[in-house]
Structures are given as C-alpha cells and as structure tokens.
C-alpha cells in the first residue's frame, strides 16, 4: 500500500512537471506560429497592394495604348460575336444565336 502511494505521488509529480514543461514548449510553438502568421499576413497585404496597383485602370490603359499599340474604338463600332460556331450551317439564319457587343469607348474630341 505504501509503495503504491509513493508511486502514485511520484506519478502525480511527474504529470505536474511534464504539464509545466509542455506548456512552456507549446508557448514557444504558439509564439513561432504567431511570427509566421505575421510574416504571411505582411506578404498577403503586400500582394494585395501590388494587385490593386497593377490592376489600376490608368495603368492598364497606358500599357494597352503605349506598349500594345491598342487604341480606343471609334464611334459606332459594332462587333458581332458568335459564342460558338455550329458544325453544320443552320438552315434558318434568323434563329442563329448571336450576341451584339456595342462598345462605346471613343476618344472623341469636339
């Protein structure tokens, strides 16, 4: 009985010490993960700012006109877009699915 009590006491001491040590270990782990999280959050914010900056309308317009040689469409330009050409020509042309994209982005100067 005595031996059992001593062993139980030792076990309790061991569990107590182990719990304290493990708490400190987990504490360090949490802190490391927090630092990692902060670094990742910084990267995320940086990428978000970069994305927003790179997708700015004035930058895209500048790239389109200066680098890619694109220009704003002229007045009344109509672009007919057919989503998917059919393999066999339809007999009834009036029922052909057709979308009309009317683009008004003129660089008109009055």
């Amino acid at each position: 009985m005595k031996i059992f009590t001593i062993l139980l006491g030792l076990c309790l001491v061991f569990v107590f010490v182990w719990e304290r040590v493990d708490m400190v270990r987990v504490g360090y782990q949490i802190e490391r993960l927090k630092r990692d999280k902060t670094v990742l959050e910084r990267q995320r914010d940086e990428l978000r700012v970069q994305f927003s900056s790179l997708s700015a309308s004035n930058r895209i317009a500048k790239l389109a006109t200066e680098k890619l040689g694109m220009s704003l469409p002229q007045h009344g330009q109509l672009i007919l877009v057919q989503s998917r050409p059919s393999v066999t020509p339809p007999t009834d042309l009036a029922s052909t699915p057709m979308r009309v994209a009317r683009n008004y982005l003129p660089s008109r100067r009055d």
Binding site: M23, V24, G27, Y28, I30, E31, T38, R42, D45, E46, R48, V49, Q50, F51, S52, S53, S55, A56, S57, N58, A61, H75, G76, L78, L80, Q82, P85, S86, T88, P89, P90, L93, A94, T96, M98, V100, R102, N103, Y104, L105, P106, R108, R109, D110
Partner: protein, 574 residues
C-alpha cells in the same frame, strides 16, 4: 554503551535534519509570505514585457471591392550610435539602401545618443535589402503605413492619413472613428533569453483592426471622369475642373473628380499651389445659366409658366433697375421652352419676376441651395444665398440667370438629380457600407430622401425642355449617340479681382444634365474653371466632356441604347 552512542548520533542527525528543514521552511516563509509581494513585482518586471499594440487602420474599397487605401506593415530603420565602431563605414553601406544621403546618415550615427531614427516607413523591398546587409548597431522595427495603390485616383475624396496614422482629409478624416484600429496593451511573458513565451493571460486578445469602408464610387467611372476632365482642362488651358457623377435615384456618388489632383502616397512632394481641399464640395461658384433649369421647374410647378407660354425676348436687351440685361441672341416672341433651350437671360429673368421674391427664394431653398447637402465628406460649403431682405432691385432677375448666388458643384448636381428622378431631392453620399475586419456588416447607408421639390409632371415637363437644349439648343455637343440627354449649359462671368466687376475674359463654363432622359442612370455636372479662350462657353467646353464621359460610362454600366440596333447577319463557315 554502544547503544547510547548510536542513539546520540541518531538524535544529532535528526537535529541536523530538523535544523536544515527549519532553515528551508524559514526561507520559504520569508520568500513566499513575508517578501512575496515585493519579489512578485520584481519577477514580473524581469519576466514580463508590456507592449502597446494598435490594430491596423481599416481598408477603403470601391463599390466592387477594389482596394483604394489600405495599411501595410513596413520597415523603419534605427541606429544605436553607441555600439558602432565605424559610423562612416556603416553610413556608406546604409546609403545604398536608404533614401538618405551619406553625410546626413553619418551625422545621425555620430550623435551621442542611444537611439536614433535613420529612415521611417520604407518600402518592403528596402527592408529586405537592409536585412541582407545585417549591420551591427542597426535595427529594424515594423510600422503601419498607409498605401493608396491607385495613386492620385480619387485623391480629393479619399484624403490621406498622416505619419502617425490619423486621417487628415477626405473620407480618411470623416470616418476616422471607424477606420482607426483599436489600441491595446498586452502583457507577454519572456524567458531568460528575452524570448516571448506566452501572453500572461490566454484571455488577452490581439488589437482589433479598423473597419472596412465600401464607397459608392466606381473605380472605372472615376478613372473615365478624371481622364476626360484632365484632357479638357489641359486642352482649354483652364485653371481647374470638376466632374461629379451621381446615381439620381439614390444620390450615390459614382465619381467625383477634381483637377488638378495630388498623389497621397507622396505628400512630401506636394507643391505650395497644390490644393488638397475637395473643391467639388467646398467651393461655391456662380452657376450662370445652369440655374435656369431650376427656375423653369419652379415657374412650371407654380403655374407661372408653361412650356408653351410665349415670352417676348426684347430683341436681346432689357433694362432693369438702371442696369441692362443682354442676350447673346436677339429674340422676339419665343416659347418658354425656347427661352431655356436658347438660354435667354431676359426670358429667365422674366420667369423669375413672375415667380416673385418669396416663391423664388422658397424654391432656391427647396432645391438645396444655401444649405449643406450633408454629404458624408468633411468641409462641405453652404454656398451663398442671401435672403430676400438683402436683395436689391435687380436680384430676382440676377438670381434667375445664376448671378448674385453661389452654389457648390455638389448642390447643383443634387438639384439636377432631383429633376432627373421625378422631383425628389436625395442626400448625396459616398460611403455605402461599413464592415468589421471579419467582414460582418456593421452599418449600411440607405438612400435618403431629403424632400420632394416638384411634382413628377413638372419634372417631366422640364426634362422635355432640357432635352431640347441638347437636341437643338446651346448644349448640342453634350449629345450622346443612341441616348436621350437632358441638360443645361452655363457660362458664368467671374469677378475680376482688380476691377471688382464681371470680367469679359474669365468664365466658369459648365454643363449639368442627366442621361438617359426618360430613365436616368447618371446625373452629372462638368465644370471647367477659367478656360483660356474668350469665346469659351459651357456649350463648347463643358458639354463635350459630358458627352464623352456619359457615353463611356453608359457603355461600361451596360445601359442599352434608345436606338434600335440593326443587326448584320453572319453566315457561319461550314
């Protein structure tokens, strides 16, 4: 004998052990009870670190969630001069990374101080390059910095935040209470190496970031407005310009452009003449003939005029109170609709006189002139509207043609939006939603009706008249192919600061209107201030800008044309 000796030794041993335990117990009681408080404080001081943390400032996004302003942690660099062996060498190494000249760095590093800032709130890339140098006596701390990724876009509306993160202008200032992150003191436990082990209490939370604001502004509409405005200001060599685009049904501001702009990312590069104020809401101007749209609405609502009422144009010259009112065209008998379409000063003055002082003043107030629109931006002006008691003998006529009155651009566009939506004055607003950092909705700004100004019938009559301004009046250049446009031109003389009289060479040219006229999606004002052309007018300078912006924005919003589209038939290749 041997037994008594052994007993003595046992007693001695017991005594020693008891003495030892007694000493330990005494020390224990001393440490844990008698000196407990003092030692606890000392241990806390050694083990704990109290840090003040502030949540990052909230993000501002446009109506489609595109980031317009956000905070980012960036490196700030400091030096510890006392630990440096060769400050000159360190300064040379640092100068390859920091935007500071070598002599200035040397001067800072040679100071007899334990801490000195070398450069604050650098770009993240500069911080990474500095890390690679790994210099002794040089440290880096992270600080929050405000970024405006779209540069100068919407600068006058967004405003900016200062070095310490306080909103100083625009939305940044007006919504400071929502944008600012929460400040919190945190107690951290640290070990013998100084490493953080754990917060003292698990219940302690990290500081809360500021809220996210969603604006009514559309980044693309804003870009179109700013680009066209800057082109127009540059082309006409004007002093400045303003465009406001509203949704007339709700009062939501889709774009608010002021030229010239500034870049809130580079405030240190601002010049003295750069204006940070949002003049679209702060500054009053004489509206000139654009005021005739409201005079027409008041006269029709009161039954004083009908669109078909015939008015004599006095052949372009009429005397009032020892002064003369001129028209740019010598008109005889014309309908009241033609008075507005041809922008006759004499006809508008007569309409004002039929209305009389009291009714005219009542309608000025009803349309919101002389009062703040209560738009959610700081520094809004009230304009200048005197009461009838302060009016002279010519005042009724003058006010009817947009003189002797000062209005702000936001007041004028709100008034025209009231005619566009059937007669209801809406409160303009720029922030539509406030959400917390987790995205939970905290506040939504619903459209707010201020008052009904005129009946839907009157609004419809005025719309018909204003359509005529664009189809065959002074505003033909505001026309947008495929759409019905209603609007009014304005060319107001400015006061010459030398003579204190109306100048014949300095004008404020403007156009205010809405489109499509029968189911308005946009109400817009275009103001070009002081174009360098004596013949400049609202019809020649501002109206084309209205057309250009309106055409592009309607296309972007997917508003279908009023005209039937003729389809070309394509035969698919077999």
């Amino acid at each position: 004998m041997a037994g008594s000796g052994s007993r003595v030794r046992r007693y001695v041993l017991l005594l020693v052990l008891l003495g030892g335990f007694g000493l330990v117990l005494f020390r224990l009681v001393t440490l844990q009870v008698l000196q407990a408080e003092e030692l606890s404080v000392r241990a806390d001081r050694q083990h704990q670190k109290t840090v003040s943390l502030e949540g990052p400032r909230g993000t501002i996004v446009d109506r489609h969630g595109k980031v317009l302003a956000m905070n980012m942690e960036v490196p700030s660099v400091f030096g510890i001069p006392a630990t440096l062996e060769n400050p000159a060498k360190t300064a040379r190494q640092l100068s390859s990374v920091l935007p500071v000249k070598i002599p200035e760095l040397e001067k800072k590093l040679q100071q007899n101080r334990s801490f000195v800032w070398l450069a604050r709130k650098l770009d993240p890339e500069q911080g990474r390059r500095l890390d690679r140098l790994s210099l002794d006596g040089i440290g880096v701390v992270m600080e929050g910095r405000r970024f405006y990724p779209k540069g100068s876009l919407l600068s006058h509306v967004l405003g900016f935040a200062g070095m310490d993160g306080d909103g100083l202008e625009g939305v940044e200032h007006r919504y400071e209470a929502y944008l600012r992150g929460e400040k919190r003191m945190m107690i951290l436990q640290r070990d013998a190496m100084g490493r953080t082990v754990f917060p003292k209490s698990l219940a302690e939370r990290s500081p809360v970031p500021g809220h996210q604001l969603t604006l009514t502004i559309d980044e693309v509409v804003q870009y179109i407005a700013e680009r066209e405005l800057e082109d127009a200001v540059s082309r006409s060599r004007a002093k400045s310009g303003t465009i406001i685009v509203l949704d007339p049904e709700t009062g939501a501001v889709l774009a608010m452009a002021v030229s010239p702009r500034f870049d809130p990312n580079a405030l240190s590069a601002l010049k003295k003449q750069d204006r940070l104020q949002n003049t679209a809401i702060t500054d009053a101007y004489e509206p000139g003939s654009t005021m005739k749209a409201m005079i027409a609405a008041a006269a029709i609502e009161e039954g004083a005029m009908k669109p078909t009422t015939m008015v004599f144009g006095e052949h372009g010259r009429m005397s009032i109170a020892n002064t003369v009112i001129h028209d740019h065209e010598k008109l005889g008998w014309v309908s009241f609709a033609q008075v507005i379409q041809k922008s006759s000063n004499i006809g508008a003055a007569k309409a004002g006189m039929v209305l009389g002082e009291q009714r005219l003043y009542r309608y000025l107030q009803a349309f919101g002139f002389g009062q703040r629109t209560e738009i959610d931006l700081p520094g809004e002006g009230v304009g200048l509207v005197k009461g009838p008691k302060a009016w002279g003998r010519r005042s009724v006529a003058s006010i009817s043609i947009g003189q002797e009155i000062g209005v702000t651009p936001i007041q004028m566009v709100s008034a025209i939006a009231a005619l566009a939506n059937g007669g209801v004055l809406m409160k303009p607003y720029v922030v539509s939603e406030i959400r917390d950092a987790e995205g939970h909705l905290l506040k939504r700004a619903p459209p707010q009706v201020r008052r009904r100004v005129v009946s839907p019938d009157t609004a419809r009559s005025v719309t018909n008249i204003l359509e005529g301004v664009v189809t065959h009046g002074t505003g033909v250049k505001a026309a947008i192919p495929g759409f019905r446009v209603a609007g009014k031109t304005g060319t107001a003389q400015q006061i010459d600061p030398k003579t204190h009289r109306y100048s014949n060479s300095r004008f404020v040219t403007s156009f205010v209107g809405y489109v499509p006229a029968d189911r308005p999606r946009l109400a817009m004002i275009v103001i070009i201030d002081a174009p360098q052309d004596k013949k400049a007018s609202g019809g020649s300078v501002a109206a084309p800008v209205f057309s250009s912006v309106g055409e592009q924005v309607l296309s972007y919003l997917g508003v279908s044309s009023d005209e039937p589209v003729t389809l070309a038939m394509a035969v698919p290749n077999s």
